[in-house]
Symmetry: C2
Subunit: 227 residues, 2 copies
């Protein structure tokens, strides 16, 4: 079995991405970040998802993106409620974290090299890349080019890194359909940017709104417990 | 003044790189990593160097590269003493840290975006890139291409990121000459991979050997206190 690293945040997209990687026959290592996010409850979701998918190698990396500032996800800025006009118009939302996917993929590359993987999976998708520059296909393709120059493994073994973004052209509804087909239990996942103290989803933030819409469109029950 | 981010480890190369950036007129922010390195004493050197160069914005990011394993700099592997045949033949030394420069540059990109910088300086050089894939010019050039796709700033402001590696084609002796010309106090810097408990350089590891050779070649006194 070929090894792969999957970036696993504990949300719908990364859970589905992990299931896709396993379905394609990869031996998956999961990499999760504790990065100063307000919605730290998603780390528990990542752990639940990894256990359900029988992913044995799980690595949690702690970095503190708050030292850089500049995002509602890590600073004391207000998380936007409902999808706002800026988001719909393709502007960059305030929940953008500077260079986050570059940082996450760079760390995935380190783990990939150590576990002997030449495949990295990331759950970026069409809904996100409306506003986030580092969710676009050209960014993903460029990172793969970089990876092929960056590591001892690529130099030593002539192996070729690939960055897989299987959800990149899918709507949230398509993603949920694919996950259901692969047996993903979305009740284990977490999407909310602004959960209650007890970890319940707010039901109102951007991320909750996209999630709700997805389940409605697919026509299956949303297993999320909202506040 | 244009803003720039300089990766500052506290060694000869990054201290010289910071001085070059300042000499070129940039308003420098310094980014230093606490990454599980054995030679944590270099963090104090970075602080001394930044203070001497009057760099006001200094950010320290803590990440733990030990969770990935695979390097003598972060694991309980022996640091090689003297430069060995493998290193000279262009093989990848055991002190290589998987994807380290990719990770460091990704973090620099985040800080650059927040401080409004489109220039990142990194002190990679010819001595290093004999063995480290992520010290080669083609890697640096590719990272710049990635940065220009990766950030909200690049999308929003049509600004162009540049990654500067001013030392990349310089020998250690050339680097020291340039630093001396710019007034760098190398007595503040730290190079050793295997310092004593009190922080003195061992004088025997790969990094000490390169440093010593550099001062001998230039013909100036090495200000380092060796064990």
């Amino acid at each position: 079995m070929r090894a792969a690293v999957v970036l696993l945040s504990g949300g719908i997209d990364s859970a589905t991405t992990a299931a896709v990687a396993i379905d394609r026959g990869f031996d998956v290592s999961a990499l999760t970040f504790r990065y100063g996010q307000r919605h730290v409850v998603e780390l528990e979701a990542a752990e639940r998802v990894a256990a359900a998918l029988k992913i044995e190698r799980r690595v949690v990396q702690s970095i503190d993106l708050r030292v850089y500032g500049g995002s509602a996800l890590t600073d004391d800025l207000d998380v936007p409620m409902e999808r706002d006009a800026g988001d719909r118009a393709g502007e960059i939302p305030i929940t953008y974290v500077p260079a986050r996917n570059t940082i996450f993929l760079a760390h995935a590359l380190a783990l990939a090299e150590v576990v002997g993987a030449f495949d990295v999976f990331i759950g970026v998708n069409a809904v996100d890349y409306s506003g986030y520059p580092d969710c676009r296909p050209e960014f993903i393709a460029k990172f793969a080019e970089l990876a092929n120059l960056a590591t001892a493994a690529a130099v030593r073994e002539e192996g070729r890194f690939e960055v897989h973004a299987p959800l990149i052209a899918m709507s949230k509804a398509d993603i949920i359909r694919e996950g259901v087909r692969l047996g993903v239990d979305y009740g284990l996942t977490h999407s909310c940017y602004a959960p209650t103290d007890s970890g319940l989803a707010c039901g109102r933030c951007d991320s909750c709104a996209i999630r709700r819409e997805g389940f409605v469109t697919v026509g299956i029950a949303d297993p999320t417990r909202y506040a």
